[in-house]
Symmetry: C2
Subunit: 305 residues, 2 copies
Amino acid sequence: MSVLVVGSIGLDTVKTPVEEHANLLGGSASYAAVSASFFAPVNLVGIVGEDFPTAHVEYLRSRKIDLEGLQTVPGKTFRWSGEYEWDLNIRHTRSIELNVFEHFTPTLPKSYATSPYVLLANIAPKLQSHVLDQMERPRFIIADTMDLWINIAREDLNALLPRVDMLILNDSEARQFTGETSLIRAGAKIRKLGPKFVAIKKGEHGCLLFGDNLFFSCPAYPLEDIHDPTGAGDTFAGGVAGYLASRNSDAVNFEGLRKAIVYGSVMASYNVEEFSLERLRKLETQDTESRYQSFKALSQFEVIA
Amino acid sequence: MSVLVVGSIGLDTVKTPVEEHANLLGGSASYAAVSASFFAPVNLVGIVGEDFPTAHVEYLRSRKIDLEGLQTVPGKTFRWSGEYEWDLNIRHTRSIELNVFEHFTPTLPKSYATSPYVLLANIAPKLQSHVLDQMERPRFIIADTMDLWINIAREDLNALLPRVDMLILNDSEARQFTGETSLIRAGAKIRKLGPKFVAIKKGEHGCLLFGDNLFFSCPAYPLEDIHDPTGAGDTFAGGVAGYLASRNSDAVNFEGLRKAIVYGSVMASYNVEEFSLERLRKLETQDTESRYQSFKALSQFEVIA
């Protein structure tokens, strides 16, 4: 089963206290699509300018990502520049150039309309809704979001939520969105706004999954060194969507979602080991399996197979 | 097998944004001993003044806690008063009256010297070492500590660490102690100072256990309402020590320690549901088993029995 991934595609300049790299492949859709491609065929919808390096296009193609939905238009590609403090949880945006992304309207090629799994990676909720308007009864829809949209487009986000099966957001966004300090309350409150499932990402503390009287706590992989947290959330979402699509089951149940959350965490844990998508470029499919087994070993306290 | 518990015994006044209660049974040893008593026989060493209510003594006795090591001396019992913000992670100490605790020297009754399991609940590391000086080859020694001792008694703490099997501390203390922002690095660094095992408590995010190339991530129980976080860490430590003692095995291994960490988390999760030790007063032994099963259900993603 295929996954439709819609989001931003950009060129990033990222600085940590240790290194700085410019013009890296970035954007929510790039990370999410590559991550999902380890599990299932991916249809990508996004926009780039004429300056977008052919090498990046070739890389996406090498991942068997369908690029019919990739619009290349006159102008410059979206650019983002950010800097991390020693505590890599703290990030400052240095500059944003929307460029061709400013007038992006995600238009789906006809063949994408029947994609059974949909990942609305982080873009404006209005655009996310616009994607769903073009879809024919997808089986499972995941939306990622961020603090920016909670601040400036809350109405659009509220309109989107009843239309998606799962919302993914991080802990501070969940608190901000609901006004609850308890993440347990926050997760329950967001579910009441529409999504059957809510995943709250907690960075170094892992991830919580909320369903109807169901709860799953996924640990984080214990990394001593994180080189670049950029794209961790997108990679996570891509892994979740990709794994679900690979299972090809009629219904997505909580048991399958747990495993999907773990595979998402597997992908995010690899991604932060190097800058941009460098680590995923080297990743083999069997690596995902071996780290999945590590997640089992570090979280299970009975019946350790 | 029995557990020796040494620590403070006090009368607490606790204020949250919702309620305030005065003269509650408190202190690290009270919480730890009662928690451990759900799993194993407990020998308690502590000090109280003549004002210490008989009802509290009777309650400890009703838990089958041996009180031969409880010193009752002229003067007033240790008192602590604290206030929590709406975010219950933030606590302010309003007042401390050391009273008889100021000159406490933990002196062990002869029969306690052979206790195979030892929990040095949170008191000055010098006193913790003094307890060990009186012991005959205990099987497993756990020490709890806090930021105060890291600040004012680091040398004493460094002297204690090679003598204990496991150190328990919370995430901010682990960062403060090691100067590492990464808890994974912090845990490894503390192990190099002596303890074979380190448990880092993360409150709402659960707990990490570090061993020799071994790592376990224990989730937190998802509570919507926490009424009083006081004593959560002590109850956790008591559950860990009590469960280990109950297993009565020749060697404490990482597998057993994982389960002990989960039982410690079970006890802490109950404890915060009400003020002081009120929740533990109502707790039945079978409750610990049912919540242990809940921990399994919320953290395991395969072979869910």
